[in-house]
């Protein structure tokens, strides 16, 4: 199977999706510029300005337009270059996209996808945040955050095919991550987690970029004789905890790793479900690894103290085993 990057996998999926006349892409700097992270490079030239729409700096407008077009049968893919600026479109996403199907009594639905990015690297307070939890909090929004090139391609296809609005979360530090991806079209179903490493001592539940860091921590611990099992959630809503709970019942020890603030964050929901459904199997308190709870600092030394490292994950696993 060909080995390609996350960026290439997304491009493959988008090229395949563009074969459907109902699909168009809209966002800032996505045309000639090929988008901030290069995902749509060459698309304008290939598909034309009608379907590869450069938008002015108007995030509410971009998402609102996508909603309107979706209502009449198009399959819009809106791009907001950084999830930090999706905040300007939250009314559209939460008061509109998430509720139209329900508010219209099922008469109209909103099959749009919002592609956006989490990520950081000395971009500081308002360019380094994650709002996964804010999207996933809302019934009516599906939230997908894949970790591998294979899942990126398959889940993007599934997201566009889905009848509901889907927030598709990429990561600025993952575009060059490589993995096997078949050339032919395929879908990875939304709402299915995956077991990415087997082990017997502890269960790590995570998703997106933290899958890779957790795998590295697992390798470190393996040398100490500790074997951890890792579950990649892949989708936050609908949340499939079945593999995580099954694993937790075997290990009795859970570690949740999510790249966001801990208080009221995604890790709180995940840990709560482990407690709810795995209480009888609990051998130790569940530990969590998250961002330090400060606005992301610019200065490199402080930033490295704020973000999650392989060491911090390994230590949290050791703590869970005490």
């Amino acid at each position: 199977m060909p080995v390609i990057t996350v960026r290439e996998a997304l491009r493959q999926a988008l090229h395949e999706l563009m074969q459907d006349e109902r699909v168009f892409i809209i966002g800032e700097d996505i045309g000639h510029y090929g988008s901030t992270y290069g995902v749509t490079a060459g698309f304008l030239e290939q598909y034309g300005a009608e379907r590869i729409r450069d938008a002015p700096i108007a995030e509410a407008g971009i998402v609102g337009l996508a909603i309107g077009a979706a209502l009449v049968g198009m399959r819009p893919i809106a791009e907001i270059m950084s999830v930090n600026f999706s905040l300007l479109a939250f009314d559209q996403l939460i008061n509109h996209a998430a509720k139209i199907y329900s508010m219209f009594g099922g008469q109209m639905h909103v099959p749009m996808v919002l592609r956006t990015t989490n990520g950081w690297t000395q971009l500081s307070a308002t360019h380094s945040q994650s709002f996964d939890v804010m999207f996933a909090h809302v019934p009516g929004l599906k939230v997908v955050a894949p970790a591998t090139p294979y899942d990126m391609k398959g889940l993007l296809r599934a997201s566009v095919a889905d009848p509901d609005p889907v927030i598709f979360i990429e990561h600025t530090l993952m575009y060059t991550v490589k993995g096997e991806v078949p050339d032919e079209p395929y879908e990875v179903p939304i709402g299915r987690s995956a077991l990415v490493r087997e082990g017997r001592h502890a269960t790590v539940v995570t998703y997106s970029r933290m899958v890779h860091l957790s795998l590295q921590a697992a390798e470190v611990l393996s040398r100490e004789g500790i074997e951890v099992e890792i579950v990649d959630l892949r989708t936050l809503r609908p949340l499939d905890m079945s593999l995580a709970i099954e694993s937790f019942k075997r290990t009795g020890r859970g570690v949740v790793v999510t790249e966001d603030w801990q208080s009221f964050g995604t890790s709180a929901e995940i840990a709560a479900r482990l407690y709810e459904y795995g209480f009888d199997y609990l051998d130790a308190p569940i530990t969590r690894v998250n961002f330090r709870e400060v606005p992301m600092p610019y200065s490199k030394n402080l930033e490295l103290k704020t973000v999650i490292t392989v060491d911090r994950i390994a230590n949290a696993i050791r703590d869970a085993l005490k």
Partner: protein, 344 residues
């Protein structure tokens, strides 16, 4: 009036000091890009090409008296308001002594309480509403001769917050001067793809305020238009929208490659209209300044930036123990009650 061909609108002292700041700003800009190539400043953004607009604005602002709510492009403006090259390099290198944020915020988010420069976040156009709030409070608080200046790019005028700010300022006749640094691109996107009309100034009519197009590469034209607008604001005559047409001479930021969307010939044509060279000629022609004086100013600016770089380089990074400083204020006698102080 007051264009390059008109009568001198600035005193010789004003003209020379404005020129000095423009040159200093360019020297800082050159250094920032060098530091970014060397990996010593992670993120930099340019003000090169915007110097006449920004220093021209400052000529109408009483530093430390009027409020200024700038955007990331405004390095020459904050220099003109009294920040130093050292301040800016400390900011760009994320040092503890960075006067804007103590190393917390990325370069281009300027602030100084003493100079009444108010920092914004990174979401474009969202800071204008704060300028409106400042003006509102000043009027209620009776600081009647104080005006507020806020600046932004033409791309920002597509945002909802931009519209809301001008709407409120227009209805309430608030003392705000809105300055568009109209440089024809929003990252890669040309003016016509961001703004449905040829001039941002035309939008003013919809908010009940005067709008004016200014040659943003002509220091005196900007200074004069700004002085008129500030006088109107101070006299309770309401807000103004100025559009200073200019061009940035470098990529948007060090993460951008402007060759992907701008023809070299276009950039060269604007280089020929570099606002600094242009005002230097005015100084020689109309103010009788000797070319040797201009060379001396340039030499001094470089020396100052060299020294500022050494200082910033030697300055310590923020101390790790301060990591949670300034997330919340402190309330006397009300320590947070939590079993877990990690998140206090």
């Amino acid at each position: 009036m007051g264009s390059d061909d008109g009568p001198p609108a600035l005193s010789a002292a004003e003209a020379l000091s404005a020129y000095t700041v423009m040159v200093q700003a360019r020297a800082v800009d050159d250094r920032l890009w060098q530091l970014s190539r060397q990996g010593r400043a992670h993120f930099v953004i340019t003000s090169a090409g915007h110097e006449a607009t920004q220093v021209g604005m400052a000529l109408a602002i009483r530093a430390g008296h009027d409020y200024v709510v700038p955007y990331y492009r405004d390095m020459a403006l904050v220099l003109a308001l009294g920040q130093t090259p050292r301040d800016l390099l400390l900011h760009a290198m994320g040092r503890a002594a960075d006067p804007a944020s103590g190393g917390r915020q990325m370069y281009g988010h300027f602030s100084s309480r003493a100079r009444r420069i108010v920092s914004g976040s990174s979401s474009v156009g969202s800071h204008l509403v704060h300028a409106v709030g400042l003006a509102f409070a000043l009027r209620i608080g009776g600081e009647r001769d104080t005006a507020v200046v806020t600046s932004f790019g033409e791309g920002a005028t597509a945002e909802g917050a931009w519209h809301e700010a001008l709407t409120i300022a227009g209805i309430q006749r608030l003392p705000v001067v809105f300055v568009c640094e109209s440089n024809q691109y929003a990252i890669s996107m040309p003016h016509h793809a961001e703004v449905p009309v040829a001039d941002v100034a035309l939008k003013a009519a919809g908010y009940g305020m005067p709008g004016e197009v200014v040659d943003g590469n002509d220091l005196r034209a900007v200074a004069l238009a700004m002085r008129r607008a500030m006088a109107r604001a101070r006299a309770d005559g309401g807000p103004t929208l100025l559009e200073c047409k200019t061009y940035r001479l470098r990529p948007h930021s060090n993460a951008d490659d402007d060759r992907r969307y701008r023809a070299a010939a276009e950039v060269d044509a604007w280089r020929a209209r570099d606002p600094i060279g242009r005002f230097g000629e005015v100084l020689v022609r109309e103010y009788g300044v000797a070319p040797a004086v201009l060379a001396q100013i340039a030499g001094q600016a470089r020396a100052e930036v060299d020294q500022a770089t050494l200082d910033a380089d030697a300055a310590p990074a923020p101390h790790p123990a301060t990591i949670a400083d300034h997330v919340f204020g402190t309330v006397a006698g009300a320590a947070p009650r939590s079993e877990d102080q990690r998140h206090a």
